[in-house]
Amino acid sequence: MRISLGYGLIAIGMVASALGLVTLAAGLRTGRRSLLDSGRRYVVVVLGASIGAFVVMETALYGHDFSIKYVADNVARATPGLYTFTAAWAALEGSILLWVLVLSVYVAVTMWRFRNRADDPLVAWATLVQYAVLLFFFALMFFAANPFKPQPGTVPFDGAGPNPLLQNHPLVAIHPPFLYTGYVGFAIPFSFALAALITGRFGEGWLAAVRRTTLVSWGFLTVGIVLGAWWSYSVLGWGGFWGWDPVENASLLPWLTATAFIHSVMVQERRGMLRVWNLSLVLATFCLTILGTFLTRSGVISSVHAFSQSSIGPWLLTFLGLCAFVSVALVAWRGDKLRSPGRIDSPVSREAAFLLNNLLFAGFALVVLTGTVFPLLVEALQNKQITVGEPYFTRLAVPIGIALLFLMAVGPVLPWRATSGQVLRDRLLIPAWAGALTLVIALIAGAHGIANVGAFALGAFALASIGRTLVVGIRARRRANAEALPVAAVRTVWSNPRTYGGLLVHVGVVVIAVALATTGGYTTKRDVQLAPGQSTRVRGYTFTYLGREVSSSAQKTTIKARVKVSDGVGELAPAISTYPNAAEGIGTPSIHTTPFRDIYLTLVSSPTSGTVTIGVQIGTMVMFLWIGGLIMALGTALALIPARKRDVLARATLDAAPGDDVSAGLAEARA
């Protein structure tokens, strides 16, 4: 029964998307407002269908309905409740269901935001494109990847349970949803960019419409990526947090182009420039999202992340080709109309800094894309298998990162249009000295490694520059109104949340950059073999093997090695767990975390004959990676707060239909 219900809801969603698309197309062709209005209403059906299908899947999972193949493959009776819930996105078909659910919510919210502009062709075309994307994914499930496919043959008594890696840690409940809310959201700016190209309206209208959604998606994607790094470190047990795995790269690629867009869109807002480029960035971001979806689900790339091989590869590749073709064709077609009125006056200006920022981010994205796809290229051309791994990416990405750190220090203090060298030197004197002193201190403290020390010094430079901006803002406010310092500080930030939110995100990036330098350069890793009662010393800590402990549950059997660590760290217990549905055990590291020092133990060999091999890793300032991520999230939230004046102005112009009188709103904003 659930099978038919779930499959039926998917069919309803697919048909509703198709009907919405067709109705809107008819409405755009004929210009009839009634068609445009009714076309939009189908989103309610689509949203209902996707939510309904998801709910049906969850009830099937909890109800252990093993007549459904997906349930039989991904939950067992012994699976704990949380992992039964997360099994909904644990495998291929379920992940598409989640994709569709998140996209439906985004489309519905966007539809509601623009409810007063239903007859605007720009909005109508954007909605049409959104329906097209929804239609594709519903059709994908309906024809090629049905989550409600019946179990062939007899219904098994018990299911296989999730992949052990996916029932090891509660993070599986947060990391994928955050990622999906991130890159699925880029479909919305994509739809508006296509709409702008189709309608020929590439002034600032579509930008305003799209900026907030892009920032929201970007924020979720940032958190999703940081959570993935945290999972890699705390759960997978190889001691690192980023492996340049193709699936990790797939999530990073749209993030890089979206970051470039978030910056260069400011140039378009201020000066009306870089229109083609911004459009291309938005289009590229969504195309890269689909590329990532394709790479992880087509089986072309083997990875600890990749879903099992399936037949949906050709579907996704075709859709990717279609998106890319439409994007390129429209830009080529409209190329002669995309005339930007402005020009950049001086290489020493904020516009030029943003151009350089974009060059670096686009370059970074190209590095990641080349590295990820190159093995496929070589195999297709020469039938030879090669690996492109961490040394490639690090060698190319680190110089880009260093340059970006420098830009973060200098860019925000550059005025728009042009400046004299004197202004720049006055503004940057103290921050530059902060960087220089950090360089000196680092050298005295014995630091080595050009990139590492460079990160420290430039990070200090950037932080001091951001601090200076804040101080100058507070001082100006206190000169204008006599306020106490804390009050002035809060009000300064609150009056311009977009700027200070952005600066806070930069602070987070600097923290992460510094943490990357410390973890990369100052980590000690060693394997030690210990008999019970035996001790060893690594980097000042004494590790004593106390003995092993075995525990069993219906879900898994766990063998732990208890290790006592000196200096107040206490007892750590790295473990290996074996699950009934997998031959190999899954290791779980035991980590003692303090802000400046991480003690990380793994169980390398299963302790059977007494001696045990323990992997010891002592890392420096690992926690600052997660703290930096948190700061970036807070900064994004701050940047999303509408400033009062701007809010009114935005509302006055955003919701107005052409022909409305917005002078009242403008007057209010000016007040």
Binding site: V300, P314, L317, A332, A380, A583
Partner: protein, 187 residues
């Protein structure tokens, strides 16, 4: 300043690159099933490396030099890998058929498993050809193994002539043995 021509040309250039990329990706997904199933040594008809093992039951040394001038079948395996368990009856039958031949030798090499578990497994399955522990994993690195099971049939002159990645059948093993003895192709 006009943007018409540069934008168009750049867009078309990007389009060409994307077409190429799509072709590459399409080729990749179409060729997935045909993975190489012959080990590198066999593909290159290279000389098999020497190996020194410690016998699992007796603790004595097994060396490749002691097996010179024989046709040696080397099988990397362990107790937990499913294809290894699948091919084990075939190996048993194959060994039973040829064990009395004077120029025949068969050696099992343990990959990624510990001695006590392997002893249980060998005893349970009744495996009576020599099984060796590979100290420090040297043999597996020297052979260039990438998984298990892997089977190599080495001719008397030391060249690895036939073999497979993954489970073998008794029929295939017979063919390889004949090929190694007579200098034929292994199909």
């Amino acid at each position: 300043m006009s943007l018409s021509h540069p934008a168009r040309w750049i867009a078309l250039g990007v389009g060409v690159v994307m077409v190429l990329l799509s072709v590459v990706l399409a080729v990749s997904i179409s060729r997935r099933p045909s993975q190489a199933s012959m080990p590198r040594l066999v593909q290159q008809h290279a000389a098999a490396p020497d190996f020194t093992l410690r016998d699992l039951s007796t603790g004595k040394t097994i060396t490749s030099t002691s097996l010179k001038n024989k046709t040696v079948v080397v099988n990397f395996f362990n107790s937990w890998c499913i294809p290894c368990q699948l091919e084990e009856p075939a190996l048993q039958a194959f060994y039973a058929e040829h064990r009395t031949e004077p120029d025949f030798a068969m050696v099992g090499i343990i990959i990624d498993d510990d001695a006590p578990t392997m002893r249980n497994y060998v005893a349970k399955k009744g495996i009576d050809w020599p099984v060796g522990i590979d100290p420090n994993g040297k043999a597996s690195v020297d052979f260039g193994t990438t998984g298990q099971p892997e089977t190599y049939v080495i001719a008397p002159d030391g060249v690895a002539v036939c073999g497979a990645l993954g489970p073998s059948t008794q029929a295939a093993l017979d063919v390889w043995l004949a090929a190694a003895r007579n200098g034929q192709e292994c199909t």
